[in-house]
Symmetry: C2
Subunit: 257 residues, 2 copies
């Protein structure tokens, strides 16, 4: 006679891909931690509740504390009879309302959310006005100084291409390889007081987007020239770059496979 | 010799008008309370800090717990040498970042934010999609059922004019006069999953907008017909109306003088 447990063992392992939206305000970032509440930790807990097994959720990459996502991607392997629709509904009912599972599908066993990612799109929201906002302040970096958009656009154009982005890497988290290819880097005034920066690249170093935004805002405030911005990139020296932009304006928009 | 206190007494009283934006999520509404944190209470505390006198802030009207404002208006009388720009800067630096003073000006002594208000504009945000949102969920009512916008528009058109709105008044807070004139009541699909209701009237009963929205959503979900909606208004019986819409989707947009 087949017990449920034997049955579970005989069920072939499946690989599931999920697309996740989250408001990062209440999380200590993506990566599981022993004490703090994290995105990976919360979703793994919900998966454990659903499957009664410990599941390792593989994210496309980490987002830092306070950073949001509209389309983070992750995958997990699981021996289960559950179908994608079950995880889709089950996770959404178990998770808090600041995490929404936007989709779930079966993928080939070999699919790996991090290794297979060909690139990512990030967006950064700036509120540029003489007054801050109360409504939506959780999702913007407030800059009072009128930004010189043209100068920022000129500087942003200079990071499109294959470069060593070491100058924009976060301190204390060096990677062996710091060369990345940026496909697109656009600054746009999308409304009277809203400025958006969108960047697409084959990969990002830790704090890279926020460090680039910090430097672009320095250009916009005319603290440094577009030429000085280009010099920071070329100099490959993190200590020469302006301060890092705060996390709440940053959104991981999409992961490309 | 003139002491500062005598000087203060001799300074003629001035009347100041302020325009306020706030995120109502952390407040027990507008009206000052002994224990809970309220908008009026917080701003009065800041005014007291600035002027060292107890100031009575007169709002254009109360907003309920969890309701937001982009353009709430209030006034206060104060014997002070401070100018509008001082209150503008001082209040914004004293208040938490979920309250922004958008403007401050001197007004004639007779100006009264409540009595002189000729009308108000409210907006209500609905997120209508098979999935909720994580980012911005604080500012919408999530409705999963696809809304019949045309039926809602038909129903909304029926409240434009002078009517007794008793059927949409909150229970337990009756007014002697329940006739109001609605100048405009518009339902619009502003994006794929965003539906907005905007209403302008010479005055509003307590919970009136949220009760109207609750009934309009019942129409949109085809629980009641536009004709039944009209019947609720005509029937003047609160117990016949569908449930009240939640506060977080509601914004006081402007007060008209």
């Amino acid at each position: 006679m087949t017990t449920p447990i034997n049955d579970q063992i005989k069920t072939p392992a499946k690989n599931f891909k999920i697309v996740i939206e989250y408001d990062g305000a209440s999380y200590a970032g993506w990566q599981r931690q022993k004490t703090d509440r994290t995105l990976q930790g919360e979703i793994e807990n919900a998966l454990r509740t659903m499957t009664r097994t410990k599941i390792n959720l593989i994210g496309s990459g980490r987002t830092d504390a306070g950073v949001h996502a509209l389309g983070q991607v992750a995958n997990f392997h699981c021996q289960t009879r559950l179908e994608p629709v079950d995880f889709f509904k089950g996770l959404n009912s178990l998770l808090d309302d600041d995490i929404v599972i936007r989709g779930c599908e079966r993928v080939p066993d070999t699919f790996h959310a991090r290794y297979d990612a060909k690139g990512k799109t990030y967006r950064y929201h700036i509120h540029n006005h003489k007054l801050p906002v109360a409504v939506g302040r959780q999702y913007v970096w407030y800059i009072r100084h009128p930004l010189d958009i043209q100068a920022m656009q000129q500087a942003a154009a200079g990071i499109v291409g294959e470069y060593d982005f070491r100058a924009f890497e976060g301190a204390g988290s060096p990677r062996a390889h710091t060369v990345r290819t940026v496909w697109r880097a656009e600054i746009q005034k999308v409304a009277d007081s809203a400025v958006e920066f969108e960047i697409e690249a084959n990969g990002f170093l830790r704090f890279m987007v926020r460090n680039i935004v910090g430097a672009l805002v320095a250009v916009g405030c005319r603290k440094i020239s577009p030429e000085a911005f280009a010099g920071i990139l070329a100099g490959k020296d993190r200590t020469k770059a302006p301060p890092t932009a705060p996390p709440q304006g940053l959104f991981l928009v999409a992961v490309h496979y």
